[in-house]
């Protein structure tokens, strides 16, 4: 079977193969462990059987994902192990070593399986495996090293390739972290498929409900008293539909929970990649302070604590300016002249301390100086003198409130404009920057002892790019990935031409603001799931980096909003959900076209249960059956399958034969005893179809026995069989 015959999308195949690799690593590990556990002695019959079962599963899974060389290799390995379960046993003192060597070789091979270059390694593996079962035909010379290391890739540039390029900001990431991300990304694909299947079932259910309602109407419209039998029948249908609805909702909730977890894993993984220690920030602070010392002649030293504290790279970058500002502030306002310090009994050289630490979910940066502290009395006077506060308010406020006011823009501690720290705007900006990162700033000060600015930030920050615009005096955001352009919209126009395409116009000023106007308006071109529209707005603010905040349960029913963000000045800005905008602009194109268009069949074939101990095969079967219109549930063994059939009826059962716990034949035998599954279509998928199996299958009324690897054609033939 070549790859061309496989029944998966390219990215689906990539994911399935990745799953297969993980599974195969585990299976081979099992074989290795079992062999090593016995030392050089021959494993027990049970152990041999288990080893055969896992290699067998491996073979089936490899075929399904189109790795034919791997099928051949695992087949050979299975035969080799099988040969030891027969007497007289050829197990010798070297057999264990050879087996371990082969499984190690296979594991190394797996990473390259499917690539043409790997064939040479496969050839060697083949010989090696064949040697195990035939110890008498040893090669004359010692075998070459098992897997030749691939040649080192040439990374050094050629000597004459000119001057080295400018250093770039590289991110060093451990490979394991990337692997985790890849597997989470793969998981997302499966989560999506599962949810799509449920949605499809719900759609069918909606149609069924409409049908039942129509029948009820017919009964009621009928002259004379409605027939009890017909009503009873409709009631029965409704009961079934209600049960299916609640089951599906429950399953959907589970699947969404799984999706939520996967997204969480992905987010955490990405966050970890972006973490860096406080060291760089401290280095920057040291440089800044050195420059300030040179510029002002102020004697000040930097002390840093907690440089191993890790935080988000993006957050670290954003903190550079606030730290610079606070250092300037400390040097300009905090630190007294040396003679004043001496008079107070302080060391002549002042100290600025930056301390980074993690406090629960918060990153805390404290920046303290040992200077004169903030004169709250003077600050009080300035607040009144600048007209920002009424004298009464200033009198009533306690010191903490006065210090908090310092963080508002436009108040300076000193009266005169200051070259270094600006006009107090600086500290306001510190608060704005920190607020934008979702954090807050606190000031505390002891007169004569010093001032501490405490920056409290979330440990990780979900930053997103968004397009901001104004409607009805408020700022809104749309995630930038869904904004493809901006344009102008003529007054009264219901469509706009963008890049030779005519798009519907959604009047956001009517939806969110107060009526319309007669002017040309800017428009944001939004695209979601292949559909585009133009949203007319009052004014485009521009792209910004935002932090997405959840709206919480109370606002959840307002589906127009996907979340909110908080501006630098602390205002809440709502994020519009592109999916909802598209839905409003294309009201006649229902959700059907928003889901995976094209591949979703319109006819529901029924509910199927797939039982196989290989996850790769379960997912592959789910995908194939899903495309034929089946709603598919999966179980990893017969015992779990039995549990599932207790609550649900299935129209089709597809099962593997060899599984841990409860095998395929035992499962079928039990199912056939259940009235509901007496005549259900059952298909066996196996790579071991001998006449005995065929006879048992016939006796149990199995519709078809399909040999692994399974292809779409084989599956369709089996389903069509009567």
């Amino acid at each position: 079977m070549s790859e061309g015959e496989l029944d998966f999308d390219p990215d689906e195949l990539v994911m399935l193969r990745q799953l297969f690799r993980a599974e195969a690593q585990e299976a081979l590990e099992t074989v290795t462990t079992r062999v090593l556990a016995g030392g050089s002695a021959k494993p027990s019959a049970d152990t041999l059987t288990e080893m055969m079962r896992v290699t067998h599963t491996l073979k089936g899974a490899a075929g399904t994902v189109g790795l034919n060389t791997m099928v051949d290799l695992s087949h050979r390995l299975e035969s080799a192990i099988a040969s030891f379960s027969r007497e007289p046993s050829p197990w010798t003192s070297t057999t264990a070593d050879q087996l371990v060597e082969v499984t190690d070789g296979l594991r190394a091979y797996l990473d390259q399986a499917g690539e043409p270059a790997s064939e040479a390694i496969a050839d060697k593996l083949r010989d090696q495996i064949d040697q195990i079962a035939r110890p008498n035909r040893r090669p004359q010379s010692l075998p070459p090293p098992f897997v030749e290391p691939p040649p080192e890739p040439v990374l050094e540039p050629a000597p004459d390739s000119g001057p080295p390029p400018e250093p770039k900001a590289w991110l060093r990431v451990e490979p394991e972290r990337i692997d985790e991300l890849m597997s989470s990304a793969g998981e997302l694909l499966f989560d999506r498929t599962r949810i799509e299947r449920r949605v499809q079932l719900l759609r069918t259910l909606a149609r069924d409900l409409a049908g039942t309602r129509q029948r009820l109407h017919d009964v009621l419209d009928h002259e004379g008293p409605p027939s009890r039998a017909a009503l009873g029948e409709a009631d029965g249908e409704l009961a079934g539909q209600a049960a299916l609805l609640s089951q599906t909702t429950a399953a959907l909730l589970d699947e969404i929970e799984a999706l939520r977890r996967t997204i969480g894993d992905l987010q955490r993984g990405l966050t970890r990649i972006r973490m860096e220690s406080a060291r760089n920030l401290f280095l920057h602070a040291a440089r800044t302070l050195r420059a300030l010392r040179r510029a002002t002649g102020v004697h000040v030293e930097l002390r840093t604590l907690g440089e191993d504290t890790e935080f988000d790279k993006a957050v670290a970058e954003q903190l550079v300016d606030p730290i610079t500002q606070l250092l300037r502030n400390a040097v300009a306002h905090g630190v007294e002249p040396p003679e004043e310090r001496a008079a107070r009994g302080k060391p002549e050289t002042a100290t600025v301390t930056i301390r980074a630490r993690q406090d629960g979910n918060l990153l805390v940066l404290d920046l303290s100086d040992d200077g004169r502290g903030i004169d709250t009395g003077a600050l009080r006077e300035r607040l009144v003198a600048t007209g920002r506060w009424s004298p009464t308010r200033a009198q009533l406020a306690d010191d903490a409130e006065i210090l908090d006011a310092l963080l508002g823009t436009g108040v300076s501690i000193r009266g005169e404009a200051d070259e270094l720290a600006g006009r107090g705007v600086g500290i306001g900006l510190v608060r704005e920057t920190v607020a934008k990162l979702g954090g807050e700033v606190k000031v505390s000060s002891t007169p004569g002892r010093g001032t501490t600015f405490s920056l409290r930030l979330p440990l990780s920050t979900a930053l997103a790019q968004a397009m901001l615009f104004k409607v009805g005096g408020q700022v809104y955001a749309i995630p930038n990935v869904h904004v493809i352009d901006t344009t102008l919209v003529d007054p009264g126009a219901t469509t706009a031409s963008v890049r030779h395409e005519t798009l519907p116009v959604l009047r956001l000023e009517a939806l969110l603001g107060h009526g319309t106007s007669n002017e040309r308006r800017p428009g944001v071109v939004v695209s979601f799931a292949g559909k585009s529209l133009v949203c007319s707005v009052d004014k485009i603010v521009g792209p910004r980096e935002i932090i997405i905040k959840p709206l919480g349960p109370l606002l959840a029913p307002l589906t127009l909003y996907a979340g909110a963000t908080i501006s630098g000045s602390g205002k809440v800005q709502l994020i519009l959900d592109p999916a909802q905008l598209v839905r409003r602009a294309h009201p006649d194109a229902p959700s059907a076209s928003l889901s995976d268009a094209g591949s979703a069949p319109m006819v529901l074939a029924g509910r199927a249960l797939v039982i196989d101990d290989s996850r790769a095969i379960r997912e592959a079967m789910t995908s194939m059956l899903g495309r034929e219109g089946w709603i598919v549930d999966v179980a990893e063994d017969g015992a779990r399958a039995l549990q599932m059939t207790r609550g649900l009826r299935y129209d089709l059962i597809v099962t593997d034969l060899e599984m841990p716990e409860l095998g395929g034949f035992d499962l079928i035998a039990r199912l056939r005893k259940d009235e509901r599954f007496k005549t259900t279509a059952i298909v066996i998928i196996t790579s071991r179809a001998n006449p005995e199996h065929r006879r048992r299958a016939r006796d149990l009324g199995v519709r078809a026995l399909v040999a692994k690897p399974i292809t779409r054609r084989k599956l369709l033939e089996a389903l069509a069989a009567r």
Binding site: G438, L512, G552, P553, L554, L558, I566, K571, V572
Partner: protein
């Protein structure tokens, strides 16, 4: 109700209300209030409270009466937590913490004036219903 201690009494418009102190997390002065178009009058807007999104409710509107004044920056508000929801009730004035008693089917404060005792859980549920109906 024999006697209910520790309630906080407040006014919104012409109405006088009370809520048990144990539901109140904070008494705050609202920051900038962002309007939520497409929401019912019961939701006066959203605010930034310590970096989280805080919905501001209009008590009379939630109770099906004519709404109070629109929520604005600087207005007083009680931050409640009930039914897993943190929300603010905009108030015109917080009167006092008091004890209540019942007389002839009416709930009265210490001075014998009638008021409406709010039950935060049902208030939040009612607000959620209104918002869902409106959506």
């Amino acid at each position: 109700m024999p006697e209910l201690r520790n309630v906080i009494v407040f006014t919104v418009g012409a109405g006088r209300y009370a809520v048990e102190l144990r539901w109140v997390r904070e008494v705050v002065s609202l920051g900038f209030v962002t309007g939520v178009p497409t929401a019912p009058q019961a939701l006066g807007g959203v605010c930034n409270l310590h970096g989280a999104i805080l919905p501001v409710l209009d008590v009379p509107a939630v109770l099906g009466q004519p709404p109070g004044l629109p929520a604005r920056q600087g207005d007083g508000a009680l931050v409640l937590e009930a039914e897993g929801v943190v929300c603010a009730l905009r108030v015109d004035q917080v009167d006092h913490v008091a004890s209540l008693h019942e007389s002839g089917g009416e709930i009265l404060d210490a001075a014998g004036r009638p008021l409406t005792l709010l039950e935060p859980q049902s208030l939040v549920r009612r607000a959620l219903e209104l918002i869902s109906e409106h959506a």
